[in-house]
Amino acid sequence: MYVYNDFDEAFVRERVSQFRGQVARRIDGSLTEDEFKPFRLMNGLYLQLHAYMLRVAVPYGTLNSAQMTQLAHLADKYDKGYGHFTTRQNIQYNWPELRDVPDMLSDLADVGMHAIQTSGNTIRNVTADHFAGAAKDEIEDPRPVAELLRQWSTDHPEFQGLPRKFKIAVTGCEADRAVIRAHDIGIQVVRNEANEIGYKVIVGGGLGRTPMIGKVLSDFVSKADLLPYCEAIVSVYNLLGRRDNKYKARIKITLHENGIDKIQELVNERFEQIQPLFGGIDQQFLAEIEHSFAPPAFKVKSTDGYDAARLANPAFRSWTDTNLSEHRADGYAIVSISIKQHGATPGDATSAQMRVMADLATKYGHDELRISHEQNVILPHVHKSDLLAIYTALRDVDLATANIGLISDIIACPGMDYCALATARSIPVAKEIATRFDELKLEHEVGPLKIKISGCINACGHHHVGHIGILGLDRAGVENYQITLGGDGTESTTIGTRAGPGFGADEIVPAIERLVLGYLSLRMSKEETFLQAYRRLGEAPFKDILYPEKAAQNAA
């Protein structure tokens, strides 16, 4: 893992001390809220419905045990004993006191973390495949490039006042676990015909008010060219992007209005200008960074005990069936720890849970953890012989829910329980759906199904790419939930289609239940997933299930 060098350390400390001064001046009245606001936003401090919120970046979702332990410490000392993991691999604290925030940032700096550029019209936290460095299907670990992008974009003088926020995601393989096609820039590690490693660069994806799937700007950018190429993209956007209308300011609209050919031409032109100026210095940095991401020394050991435990313990077996993914090393597995216990808030972990996860990473996980955009925590490198011990420790703190990828593994944004922009709540809907399907004991029968919920059109809950998406709206002063169907956030990214009129707060969970039970009767076999059945049958039968009265009318 990357460890801060003296430069990073000094930079982050300096920012903490500047912000300490700004907070002091705000509290003693020398700064008004309007004057203070840009400073707090530069440091990830938002104002929500009930309190300030501090958004801390977890770069490309990677943490070591000491960092996770420090997140637990922050939750205990400055918050209400928990934190919320978000769809951008960040963690949010919902209840900090303004006067404590400089101390929080200082404590974060102690473990090489910060909240810089987690807000504002800048390049935000670079996200990555949460299985990076561990996935069996990976060409190359995408995190060194993500770290290079982090260093380049942090406090980049040209890109502190972009037309709008700018999000970059990186993945190391064809399978897309980082939703790269819904980012301003999506980067995928690829090989060309000469078998050289390079990058496919996708631009102009995004969800929100106007969801768009990114377009390929280049099929292959060489390793040496990637950073100047990205700088060329952002620099073209910085000049061309609209500043007259906030809703038309993202690069997806710039691309849409100007066309991919023009953007390509401008990017290439800019690239020719700036590429020579880099002079290879970025490649020197990259080489050092790559060194720090060298894989751990995987152990070679028998997995007989694991196989026996699976046979002997059905609950453990069920957990291993849903929560493990294939690892590149023999005898290893990737563990997804579900932060989606039935009836709990998706993505919320208590300080005690964080400490247990940190300890497990120290003991059994080569000191590494990941935060996934699906709001779960990953132990990327676990030898199978240690799985039973991990499962047992997780179970003791309610972290052993066997539901990864199933109906209760719901993405939900904070919605109107916290977020000032929300038009409706999302958390209670997620909690009720999970509780209901747990009562029905149906979720394993239903199989892979991704439900994603956003509390407003900004779509932080990725509802457009949920197999079932739910969008909370305010219809004439009442919470109303609109369903979209058939979305997909993987390499076959699809924006879901709106099913029809929305449902009231008391109707949405029954509607989802109808939909899912209806799918069970429509599918050809147990193997046909919800998304596959939807793709085979189209929306009509699913709409009939959602709106039975309308279907009856049509039939009459």
Binding site: I27, G29, T32, E33, L47, L49, H50, A51, K80, N94, W95, T345, D348, M416, D417, Y418, A420, A422, R425, I427, P428, K431, D474, G477, V478, E479
Partner: protein, 61 residues
């Protein structure tokens, strides 16, 4: 509870000046009830309590 628009604007300006007590002030619609003024919109109703997933915020006190 303010029923006069001009008074409302003045009260808003006063509240905005109380920067060490409140931030992000705005006028919200309210109705008269036996327990005093109450918000008419669910957003402000939530703000008088706190989030629905934990008993944090004002409801905690």
């Amino acid at each position: 509870m303010i029923t006069d628009e001009a008074h409302g604007d003045i009260r808003l300006l006063e509240a905005k000046a109380d920067q060490s007590i409140v931030v992000g002030v705005y006028l919200a619609e309210a109705k008269k009830t036996n327990n005093g003024p109450a918000p008419t919109h669910f957003r402000e109703a939530f703000r008088t309590r706190g989030p629905s997933n934990y008993s944090h915020g004002k409801q905690e006190a």
